[in-house]
Amino acid sequence: MSLSGSPADRASVPPVATSATSPIAALDAAPAREPLIEIRNLRVQLPTRDGLVSAIDGIDLTIGRGEIVALVGESGSGKSMTALSIARLLPPAAKVVSGTILLDGVDLLKLTDREMDRVRGSRIAMLFQQPKATLDPTSRVGEQVGETLRFQRHVGRRQAWARSVELLADVGIPEADRRARAYAHQLSGGMAQRVMTAAAISGEPELLIADEPTTALDVTVQAQILRLLTTKVRDHGLSMLLITHDLGIVSTIADRVVVLYAGKVVEDGPTARIINEPNHPYTEALMRSSLLIPLADGRLYAIPGGTPPPGEELVGCRFRARCHYADELGIADRCAAVEPGLHACESDAHHCRCWAVEDGLIQVQPASAGSLP
């Protein structure tokens, strides 16, 4: 098994430019933002052929006002489930076993269905991965954009339509009045995602949850949509939860990154720190394999093995089986027996779930200051 190198060899992930709005030093020093969403100990279970399986296994997550938080992880790590839990749009089979999701201090999980209906659209809006499939094929897109206004704000049909056209123009759709009358199949993926964005911001929500909003789009269009999203979010002072498996996207727009592995948060912190000085071995491994940086012998670094199959009884650290530090540092027994907690790293803003990091066994080498903007 070829490993990436000794623990001291960690700085080989090159620094990546981060968004100018979040200089790392300023963030570390900045007072914590007023929290908009606070998720505590959320557990969600799903029925599968092998019985009930935990899709989310005790997630804690805070999103501050005006903050862009990226939720990163591989498929099956529970990213989408977290997003759907916040909006309470989990499929009926899924069960929230425990936890609270506070929006401005109010537990969303305790609201009645009607109350929750009023939260969606007006306070929490969503974007999805397949923009064309998220538009009703039998209904004009202008109608759909205006729905939040009509049914939440009780705006009249005609006014809602007029406002839809304005919104569509605002998200960069040319000939908005003509496009408003189009159906989903007449739009390209990028256009459809712009339409969805218009619909999402129509109710002036406080939180925008974007679940892999650009994964299905072409690269050149991806960049456009990301720019549109950041602009809109910053302009309207929204908070955004951006769900993605692409660490490349994260670096350019997120303030903070939360890394999920097998239903649990393994690391969270300011973007620049996570990208340039990942503490958790999984975050580091994910960074390396996403950026396809060749090792000395020309091969790519690959995380050995795969994520634990759903339903498997997990004891100790979930990443242990794939973690070379556990073996090299001789702490494998401990990692296998006791699950590490999410502990604070150098600053309160940065947390990590790893025995090796907690005990200072891994020396995190900060990237040179000169490489940051």
Partner: protein, 316 residues
């Protein structure tokens, strides 16, 4: 859209033509001489026929001509609404069939509307909690309906509601009340199928991303269903409705016979029993023709309902 309608209409006319050929020509391939059939039908029995009389009838009805000529003559007349005379009662066939068709259409429509009114809400209810207890109860009961033969239920219904309880007339086609019993029996099987399709298509629709997206815009479950669920889920239901409507038009023979309803099914049945060829020919043409018209109209409605279908259509 216009192109779509034109293409469908041309297909419709082509099918109608093919059916008319089949309906006219097929009886000649059967055993028995049409001239003898005519005489048998008129005299009502198997008699020793005078060959001269048979020959006279043959010439009188133009049966000595080649079949294509006979067909063209028949078609020529048929276009003007003249389908000849019934062998048995010598009335114009066009009138007989048209009257009967009207009765059958009413009966079929009543049964299917009844079926739809019950099936669609139940199907949606089942789909909303698919896999749950309510769903399995509804689905299992429906399986029972599919297996119920009408010719069993009808006599039993008559026995219970007409003869024992005396609530409904036993048979006949006299007042609106007489529709109730036959329509109720007739509606059960289509009800089961309609329910199944409603449920299945609703489940698919409910799993669609655009439903979740609509909920995320703040629409309540009810509003989401009304605005985005129903329209999308109803497309296959409409198709099935029209297929059943077409099928029930000529297919409710048993019910019409049992309840003594003067519909097309009974007319056809009697014509077959009496070897009344012109009625059989016109009856087949009318039933199938109307059925094809209904299907074509459905296809067009389908395209109006879901604009994306037109794109798919042009791909095929």
């Amino acid at each position: 859209m216009a192109r779509f309608i034109v293409r469908r209409t041309i297909f419709l006319l082509a099918t109608l033509f093919a059916v008319s050929v089949l309906a006219f020509v097929m009886p000649y391939f059967g055993e028995g001489d049409p001239a003898r059939m005519i005489l048998r039908a008129r005299m009502g029995g198997e008699l020793a026929l005078d060959p001269a009389v048979v020959e006279a009838v043959r010439r009188q009805f133009g049966l000595d001509q080649p079949i294509p000529i006979q067909y063209l003559r028949w078609l020529e007349a048929a276009v003007t609404g003249d389908f000849g005379q019934s062998f048995t009662n010598r009335q114009p066939v066009g009138g007989i069939v048209l009257r009967a068709l009207g009765v059958s259409f009413l009966l079929a429509l009543a049964a299917l509307v009844l079926a739809t009114i019950i099936a669609v809400p139940l199907g949606i209810l089942a789909a909303l909690r698919s896999g749950g207890r309510r769903d399995s109860v509804i689905v299992t009961l429906t399986q029972g309906l599919v297996a119920l033969p009408e010719y069993w239920l009808a006599p039993l219904g008559m026995l219970v509601f007409a003869l024992w309880l005396g609530w409904l007339p036993a048979a006949g086609w006299t007042s609106p009340i007489s529709v109730i019993l036959p329509a109720s029996v007739l509606c059960l099987r289509p009800l089961a199928y309609l329910l199944g399709v409603t449920r299945a298509s609703m489940i698919t629709v409910l799993e669609s991303p655009y439903i979740t997206a609509a909920r995320s815009r703040g629409l309540s479950q009810f509003l989401t269903l009304r605005r985005h669920g129903l329209k999308n889920a109803m497309v296959p239901v409409m198709t099935l409705f029209s297929i059943w409507l077409a099928g029930t038009l000529g297919g409710s023979v048993v019910i019409e016979v049992i309840f003594n309803i003067p519909g097309l099914g009974r007319v056809m049945y009697e014509a077959v029993v009496n070897a009344d060829m012109p009625v059989v020919q016109a009856g087949v043409l009318a039933t199938v023709g109307l059925a094809i018209v209904i299907n074509t109209l459905t296809d067009i409605g389908y395209a109006a309902l879901n604009p994306a279908i037109l794109v798919g259509e042009s791909n095929g």
